[in-house]
Point group: C2
Chain length 189, copies 2
């Protein structure tokens, strides 16, 4: 998606060779017009998939999932990172290792909101090693839901998570795949 790549080139900040900060438009401050175009692009890419629900994980996936969901006209459900007094139903649980936070955490999703009748689209902002996505796939498998696709805004191709998921048979569509950030120079696939 050219509009997105241009924006990453202009506003992305490369740190430490492996991390790219895109929090001026994607995951801290959010440029609504850009995310709306991203939502339309996901609709175009997964239009034939008869999606019944969009699944993501808090927090930065929520904005993208919501704006996409408008075009699919389906509900979203986001997996939550911690327990609260407001969770009382039967839940699916999985453990996710966060690369940027450097720790493991548990995410939960109430069973009533994901079932074997669902054909889901998993949406997230960043795919690096794929840990967050594996967590959502684990929950989807527990639910018996069909994973019709995985839509990612920025894939860090050099960390390998996306290609592992493709090899496992998933329909992964990333709107921008960064294959290298060496010498602070972005190379897109």
């Amino acid at each position: 998606m050219e509009l997105l790549k241009e924006r990453i080139r202009r506003d992305g900040k490369i740190k430490d060779g492996k991390i790219i900060k895109v929090d001026g438009f994607l995951n801290h401050q959010i440029d609504i017009n850009l995310i709306n175009e991203i939502g339309k692009e996901f609709k175009r890419l997964f239009n034939e998939e008869k999606i019944t629900k969009i699944i993501t994980i808090e927090a930065s996936g929520i904005a993208i999932a919501c704006l996409a969901a408008q075009y699919f006209n389906v509900p979203i459900v986001f997996a939550k990172k911690s327990e609260s007094k407001n969770i009382d139903g039967d839940v699916y649980r999985t453990t996710v290792t966060s690369y940027t936070r450097g720790k493991d955490y548990t995410v939960i999703l109430e069973k009533r909101y994901l079932t074997s009748d669902d054909r889901i689209l998993i949406i997230d902002d960043i795919l690096a090693t794929g840990k967050a996505q594996l967590g959502l796939l684990d929950i989807s498998e527990q639910a018996g839901a069909t994973v019709a696709g995985i839509g990612i805004v920025i894939e860090k191709g050099f960390q390998g998570g996306g290609d592992k998921l493709r090899k496992a048979g998933y329909n992964v569509q990333s709107l921008a795949i960064i294959d290298s950030m060496e010498n602070k120079t972005l190379k897109f696939r």
Copy 2:
């Protein structure tokens, strides 16, 4: 907002006299069409306020803030609940006590994304004692931003947070105010 009150009556689940679960449509599973109507209603209520930015707190405020932001055509910024390798700038910090989670946590917002030039609308899903909103007001004060309004989907009027904010001079607009849930019966203001 009648559409919202009907939905709360139909799908809200009262627990323990003080907590109402609305996670079938508002803050776990999200009904995009309803949240879109909520976004339009916030635009109607704050239309004259020359909002430059919408501010919320992760995670459940993000969906509502994003769908509202489309109608205001402004960016959103969400305060984050924890540090990550992706935060490196100068940040505003504040402490919030979560009623539903029963603990204190720190939220941060990068200084570059909120300044004294901003006229902000604070948006959140639930207003109870007002702790989360006070955190965002503290951050706004640190930034020197002007708080043009506070838009809330569901205010639990019997917990007093909303009226305290109104007494302090803020323009608080809640789309549904629950004044009592005694005997599992909802009374709206």
